[in-house]
């Protein structure tokens, strides 16, 4: 390495917790050269952010560097006192956080925030600092910087705000910037712009950047070198193309296998990690210590699947056309006809405008769009949570009563089920898994006998590849992926025909996402389920959907079969989205042959 800026050797960070000493990261070696981007990639709990905090001297009070050294341009950092840290942070080290909403003070003009930071570290007067600030905003791509400098943070869009945050980080001309998930909160097109900006600044200013992210696509597109982390240890490290293109470690290979790709549609994700074993190997011993010998008499995955199939045989689908037809659907929020003489009349916000889609039985419709495009509103309209202002919905040939007019005992309440994005919020945390799962069984009258309900619930858990012992536990005792499996089981216990999944994997790690996608696809193959799959991630939709609907600002932009959409999208907006999504194409030729059968890492 020609010019090593940051050298981390054998870094071990431990936290004092109620449960005893907990080692978050152990034996980390890392070196970052000036003018390069070093990616730190790993799933949640891998210790990415802890490493960043340790380098910045920002570990929480309970954490400490137990071993190892951090050296910035030859100067050791781990024994600095508070004053030395204050001088160092902001002048030679800077940080960019995930959420640009919260990293700027909403009550102070951005110009004042910049000027304050500049003057903290350089002895110059107000006017000079201000002209520096304008130059910085200009450099980070904010147009009319000399007028926008007097705006407040809320007057900028998410992407623009992240540019301001970057300008703030550049204020003092730092040598090293740590960017912790800098684009995770942004839409894909904005993400691309921010990443381009970061790359340009690194090249122009010869800054070293540590880019922390869970998104492999971002790493592939931006970083020169990469370190793969798992459970607080380095799995593999080296040039990005080599490490991710032809991984040496089993874990990296499994991780890469789980990343959904836009180029080809795979029937299934192969060679991915098994999350149950991964969890047991993890640091959470509380889970491992619970004995796993619990079984319910007569419960098995086969029992659940024959129960689901019985419903399928019994249902006489006289209707020949699509299962779900949505015609000219519009949803308007906050509109008011006004009171007397039209006082207080408001137009409202059009969340959905004249959307027409249809969904054939046994297929999957992928709905994509950026935030605010009306994806979730569509799901809410179908499930009756919001009242449409115009349009009709037909389910299995019969009109679907909209919003408040749908009766509580309407058959569609059972036949259409919803899986939510956040498995932390969608399960009642005060209920055991057994109570959560028994609720639909009893509510829809599938079984009333206590033993039968239990047998059904335990069988369904097995069907979604969960141990039966999960019955007695509470949602918080499970990982995100396991919770999402419980949510899937709950939806299945209603015996639905249409499953609406609203971003079901976007809160999950990529390997867990692959498992859930596999599970959903297996369920569809076995039980002929129809699915409406909502996602912001085109690569995920590429893998799971048969047809694709693109929404933009509440309007349907394109509605096309999967293959045609991804090979020759018609609408300019679709093509724009496709081009902005980070791609792993550069790695493809190397990766193709290394993706054989992979042993799950233990």
């Amino acid at each position: 390495m020609v010019d090593t800026l940051l050298e981390v050797q054998g870094l071990t960070v431990s936290f004092a917790t109620r449960f005893g000493e907990f080692t978050a990261v152990e034996g980390i070696d890392l070196s970052v050269a000036a003018g390069s981007i070093h990616g730190l990639v790993g799933e949640s709990g891998a210790g990415k952010s802890t490493i960043g905090a340790a380098i910045m001297g920002l570990l929480p009070a309970s954490g400490r560097i137990a071993a190892g050294s951090v050296t910035l341009a030859g100067e050791p950092l781990q024994h600095l006192d508070d004053t030395a840290w204050h001088r160092l942070r902001g002048s030679r080290l800077a940080m960019i956080f995930q959420d640009p909403q919260t990293s700027l003070n909403p009550l102070i003009r951005i110009g004042d925030q910049l000027v304050e930071t500049i003057r903290q570290h350089a002895d110059i007067d107000e006017t000079e600092a201000r002209s520096q600030a304008i130059a910085l905003l200009d450099e980070t791509g904010i147009h009319d910087a000399d007028t926008r400098i007097d705006d407040y943070p809320h007057q900028f869009s998410g992407g623009m705000r992240q540019r301001v945050v970057i300008a703030l980080a550049l204020c003092t001309d730092p040598e090293l910037i740590i960017a912790d998930e800098p684009t995770t909160a942004l839409d894909v097109a904005v993400q691309q712009q921010i990443l381009d900006l970061l790359k340009r600044l690194v090249a122009e200013r010869q800054i070293g950047v540590i880019l922390i992210t869970h998104d492999i696509g971002v790493i592939v597109e931006t970083s020169d070198r990469v370190t793969v982390l798992r459970h607080g240890r380095v799995v593999e490290s080296g040039p990005t193309r080599r490490v991710l293109g032809s991984p040496a470690a089993d874990y990296t290979r499994a991780l890469m296998a789980a990343v959904p790709r836009m180029e080809t549609r795979l029937p299934r994700f192969r060679g991915i990690l098994d999350d149950v074993s991964a969890d047991l190997a993890g640091p959470d011993v509380r889970q491992a210590s619970v004995a796993d010998g619990f079984r319910v008499q007569g419960a098995s995955a086969e029992y659940a699947s024959s129960w689901l199939l019985r419903a399928r045989d019994g249902a006489s689908t006289a209707h020949e056309g699509p299962l779900l037809e949505i015609d000219g659907l519009s949803v308007t929020f906050g509109a008011s006809g006004g009171g007397w003489f039209g006082i207080g009349r408001r137009e409202g916000v059009h969340a959905l405008q004249d959307v027409t889609v249809s969904l054939a039985a046994g297929t999957t419709l992928g709905v994509v769009g950026e935030s605010g495009s009306g994806k979730s509103t569509l799901a809410k309209a179908i499930t009756g949570l919001v009242d449409p202002s115009a349009g009709t919905m037909r389910f299995d040939g019969a009109a679907l009563p909209p919003g408040g007019t749908r009766r509580r005992d309407h058959a569609s309440r059972r036949r259409i089920q919803l899986i939510f994005q956040d498995p932390f919020a969608s399960l009642d945390s005060r209920f055991t898994v057994e109570r959560i799962l028994a609720e639909p069984v009893r509510h829809y009258g599938h079984a009333t006998d206590k033993g039968e309900v239990r047998r059904l619930v335990a069988s369904m858990l097995q069907l979604v590849e969960m141990p039966q012992s999960a019955l007695r536990k509470y949602p918080h005792q499970f990982s995100g992926g396991q919770r999402q499996r419980v949510a899937v089981a709950r939806a299945l216990l209603a015996r639905p025909e249409l499953l609406i999944a609203d971003e079901p994997t976007s809160a999950l790690d990529v390997s867990v996402q692959a498992q859930i996608l596999n599970l959903l696809r297996d369920l569809q193959d076995s039980f002929g389920l129809t699915m409406l799959f909502i996602s912001h991630d085109l690569a995920v939709v590429r893998q799971i959907a048969d047809t694709v609907a693109v929404l933009k600002g509440g309007e349907l932009v394109e509605f096309a079969p999967n293959e045609r959409f991804f090979s020759a999208a018609e609408a300019p907006y679709s093509r724009y989205l496709l081009s902005e999504t980070p791609s792993l194409a550069g790695l493809e030729e190397v990766a193709a042959d290394s993706l054989g059968v992979v042993q799950p890492a233990r």
């Binding site: 005893g20 011993v285 210590s289 949570l385 919803l418 994005q421 509510h443």
Partner: protein, 309 residues
Amino acid sequence: MLSDTWSRWQRFRVDNELVHLFLHSPVAIASALVATLAVMAALLAPVLAPFDPYDIGGIDLLDSLLPPAWTDDGDVRFPIGTDDQGRDLYSAILYGLRLSLLVGVLSVSFAALLGVTLGLIAGWFGGWVDALVMRIADVQLALPAILTALLVDGIARGLLPDGSHDRLMLVVLTVAIGLSLWVDFARTARASTLVEKRKEYVQAAIIMGMHPLKILARHVLPNILGPLLVILTIDLAVAILLEATLSFLGVGVPPNQPSLGTLIEIGTGYLFSGEWWIVLFPALALVTLIVSVNVLGDFLRDVFDPRLR
């Protein structure tokens, strides 16, 4: 690292946030201890007290206004002296504690039942139901608690036949104090319901077509118990204080029955003639009880409100 050899209790102690924080807060432990002692003393008053203040035959007027036992004129039978009718102050305080706690618990339960029900309904259904309930709550808040209590007491005296008022005193006090406290519960329950209603597990129940009242009882109520528990504790202290105030004013417990309020009222009459013990000891008992319950309430609020951590 967690040890596999830990006992169940050790595991529970570390796993349970509330228990863990409690065991690491000496103030909380101390106040819980005092509050428990007070409850025990109240429950066991017939056993612990040497005299029964309700038993007219056991009272000798010659024993009236005796100072505490350690002073020159003290009598060993009466450790902290007697009141103007010759009742043992120690026994009277124990029995008074009993009455004060009983009225406190009953009236807070009444307020909680009324307030939480109205709050859940207002938060869930919104619209004019919400507006109606909350405006009534605003009107209620505009009336001082004492005034409400006096009003209820006055109406009860007017409606009830002569003589039955004393027998129904407990009911009247419960309603009077409960009515002035329900707003706290209603507001908290409403605000928490509004938050929970938007959460996905509740949305899931709505989509399922579950009856709103069932959703409120099964899903919403158990999830908003935390903040309600805080209000419950804090309002318990307020209720006890209100009872003492009303009794002090002579509209609560009849003067011949000992409650902390009536004892203090009797004591104030003798404060300037040198008989300080009659007012001091009941007042000390009241203050200790209120402070310990309040500290417990503050502790619970700290636990349940993450913003204060």
